[in-house]
């Protein structure tokens, strides 16, 4: 497939919908026939066949934060959980890309925020939930408390033939993954064919999105160089509290919205200041993301499509908005 063609596979819904982000991994109608053989082949290599699936990305809940610009605290997060549970099709898994909690220098309070986060997160009726830390989770103690609750901060796993890699770019003082993790990444990737579908999820962007706002990873180029030989790589991240899509060579980077407050477009604003709270639309610009992996088995083809869904209110619960998702043709 040519460069131009793969753009057509990118289906990013407008920002008018509702909650977070859903991704899906399935062969598109057009690619199904050709893809079949490839899925089988890849299944032999990964020990698991690639089959279509949809998953979710949630990000930046900042449990414990309740000041301006979001006096509602965990309400948006809880609403997101409601909306996830109301999805017509249960997603395979949820990736949570950091800033689960908001930081505080009182360790007990921070641990309580983590417990509260998990309590809400576990209400999700989803078989698998995976996490990476954000700097608000891990900055103060180099990730120690995070690891006590959730285990290693970087790791990988395979799901239906797709290789998922969790990267931690927040546990060191600088915004970086560091040499140990880079070495681990090289080793982790070694067993994969260059055409294997790979989804990386992390907190900060792995490219220079807006260094002046600390929207970058200082050794992000090193990470991307390790990933460069792989032809089907997608990066999902959070941190910037707004949805964003960015392509570098054949790799697509997607940022998810937050569940607490939103930042404006850095190209149109001088100061890093969140949007103020709007009591008539308390969840404006907050959301979840549906992700579809439309894996076609072709090199250099971006087969992941994302759909950002804005949170709806309806007294913070119910199924309002889900019908909108159902009506969306890109799902």
């Amino acid at each position: 497939m040519k460069e131009v063609d793969r753009r057509r596979f990118m289906k990013i819904a407008g920002s008018s919908l509702g909650i977070g982000v859903l991704y899906s991994a399935m062969p598109s109608a057009r690619a199904k026939g050709e893809a079949g053989a490839f899925f089988g082949e890849l299944g032999k290599k990964n020990g698991e066949a690639v089959t279509p699936f949809t998953f979710l990305q949630l990000s930046d809940a900042h449990v414990g934060f309740d000041g301006p610009p979001d006096p509602l605290g965990t309400k948006a997060f809880e609403r997101a959980v409601e909306m996830v549970n109301a999805l017509p099709q249960r997603p395979d898994l949820v990736l949570f890309t950091g800033d689960l909690t908001h930081d505080t220098e009182d360790k007990d309070t921070h641990a309580n925020r983590m417990r509260r986060f998990l309590e809400i997160s576990k209400r999700m009726n989803v078989p698998l939930v995976k996490y990476v830390p954000g700097e608000h989770d891990a900055g103060l103690d180099a990730g120690q408390m995070y690891r006590e609750f959730l285990g290693e901060s970087y790791y990988s796993f395979d799901h239906r033939g797709v290789h998922f890699i969790a990267l931690d770019n927040v546990s060191r003082a600088k915004p970086e993954v560091g040499p140990d993790q880079l070495a681990w990444l090289k080793k982790d990737l070694a067993r994969f064919d260059k055409s294997a579908p790979i989804i990386v999820f992390t907190h900060r962007p792995l490219f220079d999105l807006k260094p002046e706002w600390e929207w970058f990873t200082s050794d992000g180029d090193d990470v991307m160089n390790v990933l460069a030989p792989y032809q089907n790589v997608t990066v999902l991240y959070g941190h910037i509290h707004r949805d964003d899509e960015h392509a570098v060579d054949h790799v697509h980077h997607y940022a998810a919205r937050s569940l607490i407050f939103a930042f404006p477009d850095p190209e149109k604003t001088a100061a890093k200041k969140p949007f103020p709270f709007d009591k008539d639309a308390p969840f404006k610009n907050l959301g979840i993301r549906l992700v579809h992996e439309n894996f076609a088995g072709k090199p250099l083809v971006n087969t992941v499509s994302v759909q950002d869904v804005e949170l709806t209110t309806r007294e913070f619960m119910g199924i309002n908005g889900i019908n909108q998702i159902l009506r969306n043709p890109s799902l």
């Binding site: 003082a173 600088k174 600390e214």
Partner: protein, 122 residues
């Protein structure tokens, strides 16, 4: 000691002192301007400085508490400021503009809002 010898020694001393003053003065006239910047959780003081395009300056960085970062990609500044040390950073900006410079070494709960502005004028 005879008064004449004393006179010679004194005038020699005076000459050396004067020469010293002249030399020191010349050196400082050519040396770049030094601007002191102090980092303390979660602010830089001053939080705005103005430089002239093409003018070499020394930014003299200090921390009053913990380790901080001092980072501005476009000015090629990427420093770590450790407490108890003074760090001189030579900068000659070549493009006018407003440069938000951040602490990029995690320093606590409001680390994310620790920044200052370097304005570069023509």
């Amino acid at each position: 000691m005879r008064p004449k010898a004393l006179k010679i020694i004194l005038s020699a001393l005076l000459m050396i002192t004067l020469l010293g003053i002249i030399i020191t003065h010349q050196v400082s006239a050519e040396a770049p301007r030094v601007i002191e910047i102090t980092a303390k959780r979660f602010a830089f003081t001053p939080n705005q400085i103005t430089l002239k395009k093409g003018e070499p300056v020394i930014l003299r960085l200090k921390s009053e508490d913990v380790t901080h970062g001092f980072f501005m990609r476009k000015l090629k500044i990427d420093e770590t400021i450790e407490p108890g040390k003074t760090l001189d950073v030579a900068v000659t900006p070549d493009t006018a503009g407003t440069y938000t410079t951040i602490c990029d070494h995690f320093c606590g709960v409001n680390h994310g809002s620790m920044n200052m502005t370097i304005s570069v004028v023509e």
